[in-house]
């Protein structure tokens, strides 16, 4: 190597440098440029990476936020569930760290959503002392160099356009550090909106349009049968459903009559257990009505005199949101002979002798 360089120098000196010194100067400059470039590449490659604090999260969907604009604020966020209900508060845990050597001042953090979404509420439920919620913004105390603070905040998204089921969003942080203003965006994991499912349960003697559905005396008379119609309806907007089932029990003194109507699904009754179930394998949106109606008969007994006997009890439902995968379930209020939705017969359910 040394010999080769020496030979190259002699040849170069004899041919160019002796005749013109500018050749020598040009080669030296070229050599420095090459060395500088090599050094830069080495520095870039081996310089330390930006610091990221990953909090130990063992049960939740985690989102890592990093600044996009230079500054010392680091934000870790933790979205407890990315499937959310419209109108229901959901929890966002955030961790703030000053990674620099100067104090971070006047820190404000604002959730950013696309313009068509609105956030109805931001609530600092766990009340970390350094966070205040003012006008939809989180206002924080100053962060000293190296200081880490954590906060639980609760947000509620009220409105989205009809078709939107997915929300992209970010946290916008605005602060001052060492006399400079910084604005950093910390992107967050997308939110999925859980379908808005209600199971309507209704009891009627006359339909809302006035048709006689039931039969027998109203108010019910001891020793006489009165037949009522019970309706369950899937009232769903948002996402398709699968595996819908509504289960209920017929109380003592109530029997299932033979008449029913179904717009979808299957209806089964286990007479020995007095349990009934209505199941729908798949319930796509905008695919018509999902309703079952069935007739029950009350044969009022002596101990039901002066009461509104129950017609259906232990009503519960299960369903899966086909988009979010969320399992939905709930229990519903039993139905009795008071028939609050029956404009003709409501309040006439008390059994008389």
């Amino acid at each position: 190597m040394h010999k080769a360089l020496k030979k190259w120098w002699k040849l170069r000196h004899a041919k160019h440098y002796v005749n013109n010194h500018w050749h020598l100067i040009a080669d030296i400059l070229l050599l420095f440029i090459i060395l500088g470039l090599v050094a830069s590449l080495i520095i870039i490659k081996y310089s330390p990476a930006p610091q990221v604090n990953i909090a130990p999260i063992d049960h939740v969907v985690k989102d890592i936020a990093t600044s996009t604009i230079p500054g010392s604020l680091l934000i870790n966020s933790e979205l407890v569930k990315s499937n959310i209900y419209l109108g229901q508060a959901f929890n966002l845990k955030i961790s703030l760290e000053n990674s620099g050597n100067s104090e971070i001042k006047n820190l404000q953090i604002t959730p950013q959503l696309s313009s068509s979404f609105t956030i109805s509420k931001i609530e600092n439920v766990n009340a970390a002392s350094f966070v205040k919620v003012v006008g939809g913004k989180l206002i924080l105390e100053n962060l000293a160099p190296g200081e880490i603070q954590e906060a639980d905040i609760w947000l509620t998204i009220k409105d989205v356009p009809n078709s939107a089921r997915n929300i992209s969003w970010a946290l916008k942080a605005k602060y001052q550090e060492a006399g400079s203003d910084y604005i950093n965006d910390f992107s967050l994991k997308d939110l999925k909106i859980i379908t808005n499912l209600k199971i309507k349960t209704e009891a009627y003697y006359n339909s809302p349009l006035g048709d006689q559905l039931g039969s027998g005396p109203v108010p019910p008379i001891l020793g006489f049968p009165t037949n009522y119609w019970i309706f369950f309806e899937v009232d769903n907007s948002g996402n398709d459903l699968s595996g819908v089932s509504v289960n209920a029990k017929l109380p003592e003194g109530i029997t299932l009559a033979n008449r029913k109507t179904l717009s979808a699904g299957e209806f089964n009754y286990d007479e020995s257990q007095k349990r009934l179930s209505w199941t729908i394998k798949s319930a796509p949106l905008n695919n018509g009505l999902y309703q079952v109606g069935f007739e029950v008969q009350l044969m009022a007994t002596a101990n039901q005199v002066n009461t509104n006997p129950l017609l259906v009890s232990n009503i519960s439902y299960l369903a899966t949101d086909a988009y979010t995968g969320e399992k939905l379930s709930g229990s519903l209020t039993p139905l009795d002979t008071s028939l609050p939705l029956d404009t003709i017969n409501r309040g006439q359910g008390i059994v008389v002798k």
């Binding site: 027998g216 049968p225 009165t226 179904l262 009505l289």
Partner: protein
């Protein structure tokens, strides 16, 4: 040859097993109308009955009215009334007495029944009794009265072609009870013994009946009087007058019903229960006797009774055909005991039940798993109030007709599970609404119950996931996709579009499909197809089928689905539009549902429409040319969810009812 014989034998065995659509009408009504002439308006009213007993003089005094009745009701049976053993003074009401005078002209003086003093005997004002026995003398033709009378009937009445038979009144089973037994059959001044009187009288009556049967073997012969089984061999029916007939089997309800059921179980089937009333509003007596009649297979008649058999009273109960009987009568108070006794008796029919309380006290009965509609009447609205019931209270010696609740719609397609109201063409709700739901099919499936194959039993066309399936007696006999890959729903109708006496299946693509109408034969082979509206339209097309112009071919009526205007079009079998009109305001775009049928009984088909979603609940009825006839609101004016229309003869009166369907209730 053996094979053919074998097939024929199998076929003969199979025929009776097929459920029949040609059900017997019940109640069967007879009008026992004994005026000697009838007016045209009376004739028009009488045409509503199934069976008429009219005085023989009507053939002379009102022959055109008789013909009018048959023209209005080709199925009606009309028989001529004549007394078997007495004769009015022929001068009585002489202007109208033609046949009686003729009959009297040939009455031999020896034929009058006389007592031991030779006095003619009378059993009715202005009428004298004739001697039906062989003990009387002969006329100039060498005939006794019991020979003369059948010949008079055959030669002067039944020969006119105006009658289906004869009704012999005053048929006695003996004569010893009459005139305290003071009868001299030979007019020799000596009374006959009671036994001699009865035996001779029975034999004489049998001669009349026997000869009538011989002379008129194919005609209906019905008698009224005192019943004995010996007479039945010659008769097609017996009348129990003034129910419970005082002179029959003790005159009690139990006794008379025993006789009636014994009679009506006989194959001869023109037995009549005639009940008498204090007036047309004697509803309790009416229901009691009607429901009692329905315990057997006879005909029912209701009037003032023996003093005045000539009424045109029509009752709410008559407007509902109960169809074929399904059970014998059974006592709800003692179900395992078939002995006729006072009780709460019930008999089931295809479309309803008859209940009669023959006890002396009110009876209540709870239907454990059943529900019925009371008739929605205009007369005794306290009883026939149209309510849906699950228990009943029946007053002593009263009865009631209850209607079974419909569960499906026949001859017009419907969406399984929808709720339907039932209207007549005037827009009156005639029954309680119901959920049209068939358990073995999925909810929301389009279904059509119809005798597509003219087998005398209905088949079921169903739509699911783009497939159209034809099922007969529980077996799938055809399944295909009328629209290829299109998996959406579609409308279905059936009718003889091509005029080949076989019905075709007509479909209209549903929402999401083009407005394509397909016509298939019953084997699923395409016969024709066309676009009812612009090809690019994707709101679907509703279809109905009916012979609007009476040319023997059914036309296809279409209604545009949602998104189009309320266009209704009528196409011939080749898909040529022959009528086009707007069913609603031209700016309405919620779609229009269509149905076709005779909803007002005028013999012509009407087009009935219902507005789709967003429209009001207005049902419109157009004539066969698309010109508006009438309309009504099926729901509250503010209802805007759209109404489906279907036509079906719910009460089996031959006129289609209009059914308006909504999703949900």
């Amino acid at each position: 040859m053996k094979k053919i014989a074998f097939i024929l034998i199998i076929f003969c065995f199979l025929i009776p097993t097929l459920p029949s659509l040609a059900s017997e009408k019940n109640p069967k009504l007879v009008n026992y109308f004994l005026h000697w002439s009838i007016t045209e308006s009376e004739a028009r009213e009488m045409a509503k009955w199934d069976f008429l007993v009219l005085d023989m003089e009507v053939q002379e005094n009102s022959p055109s009215e008789l013909r009018l009745i048959r023209q209005l009701n080709p199925k009606i049976k009309i028989i001529a009334y004549i007394s078997s053993q007495n004769l009015f003074n022929p001068d009585f009401n002489s202007n109208e007495s033609v046949l009686r005078k003729k009959l009297a002209q040939n009455i031999d003086d020896s034929w009058w029944l006389r007592d031991d003093r030779g006095n003619r005997l009378s059993d009715w004002p202005s009428a004298y009794v004739l001697n039906v026995t062989d003990s009387c003398g002969k006329n100039y033709n060498g005939q006794k009265f019991n020979e003369y009378l059948p010949e008079f009937v055959a030669g002067n009445i039944l020969n006119t072609g105006l009658w289906d038979g004869v009704f012999y009144d005053n048929v006695w089973n003996g004569a010893s009870w009459f005139n305290a037994g003071n009868i001299s059959l030979t007019n020799n001044g000596l009374r006959n013994s009671g036994n001699d009187l009865d035996v001779a009288w029975k034999n004489g009556v049998k001669k009349i009946l026997s000869k009538t049967r011989n002379l008129l073997p194919q005609k209906i012969v019905v008698a009224n009087g005192s019943f004995i089984w010996d007479y039945q061999n010659y008769l097609n029916g017996w009348m129990l007058e003034n129910f419970p007939t005082p002179w029959e089997n003790g005159g009690t309800w139990t006794g008379v019903i025993q006789s009636y059921l014994k009679l009506s179980n006989n194959s001869q089937n023109y037995h009549i229960v005639n009940a008498s009333a204090t007036g047309p509003n004697d509803y309790v007596r009416f229901r009691y006797s009607l429901a009692s009649t329905l315990l057997g297979n006879g005909y029912f008649s209701f009037d003032y009774g023996p003093e005045n058999h000539a009424q045109l009273w029509w009752y709410d109960e008559y407007n509902n055909d109960l169809g074929d009987y399904q059970t014998d009568a059974y006592n709800l108070l003692d179900k395992t005991n078939s002995t006729i006794k006072p009780g709460l008796w019930r008999r089931d029919y295809t479309n309803g039940i008859a209940i009669v309380n023959s006890t002396d006290k009110e009876q209540r009965y709870i239907f454990v798993k059943e529900e019925f509609d009371k008739i929605r009447g205009t007369q005794d609205t306290k009883i026939n109030n149209g309510q849906k019931i699950n228990w009943i209270s029946v007053a002593p010696r009263d009865g009631i007709i209850l209607l079974k609740r419909p569960t499906v719609i026949r001859d017009s397609w419907f969406v399984n599970g929808n709720f339907f109201r039932i209207f007549n063409s005037s827009g009156s709700q005639i029954r309680n609404g119901f959920f049209a739901y068939v358990d073995k099919y999925q909810g929301s499936q389009p279904l059509l119950f119809h005798d597509l194959l003219s087998r005398g039993s209905e088949q079921i066309l169903s739509v699911s996931k783009g497939y159209l399936t034809l099922t007969s007696a529980g077996k799938q006999i055809l399944s295909f996709r009328p629209y290829g890959a299109f998996k959406g729903s579609f409308a279905i109708a059936a009718g003889d579009v091509s005029g080949d006496s076989r019905e075709e299946i007509v479909t209209g693509a549903g929402l999401g499909g083009g407005p394509q109408v397909m016509v298939y034969d019953s084997s699923g082979k395409i016969k024709t197809s066309f676009f009812a509206y612009d090809k690019k339209f994707r709101g679907g097309v509703n279809v109905a089928v009916g012979d609007l112009n009476g040319d023997g071919k059914a036309e296809i009526v279409t209604g545009a689905g949602p998104g189009g205007g309320p266009h209704v079009r009528v196409f011939d079998s080749k898909g040529n539009a022959i009528i086009n009109f707007m069913a609603y305001d031209k700016n309405f775009s919620g779609g229009v549902n269509v149905a076709v049928g005779d909803v007002d009984g005028d013999g012509l088909q009407e087009i009935v429409t219902g507005a789709g979603q967003g429209g009001g609940p207005q049902v419109r009825i157009f004539n066969n040319l698309g010109i508006p006839k009438t309309s009504f609101m099926a729901y509250d004016l503010n209802y805007r969810s759209g109404i489906f229309v279907a036509l079906s003869d719910i009460n089996n009166d031959g006129v289609m009812e209009i059914l308006t369907g909504i999703s949900g209730f």
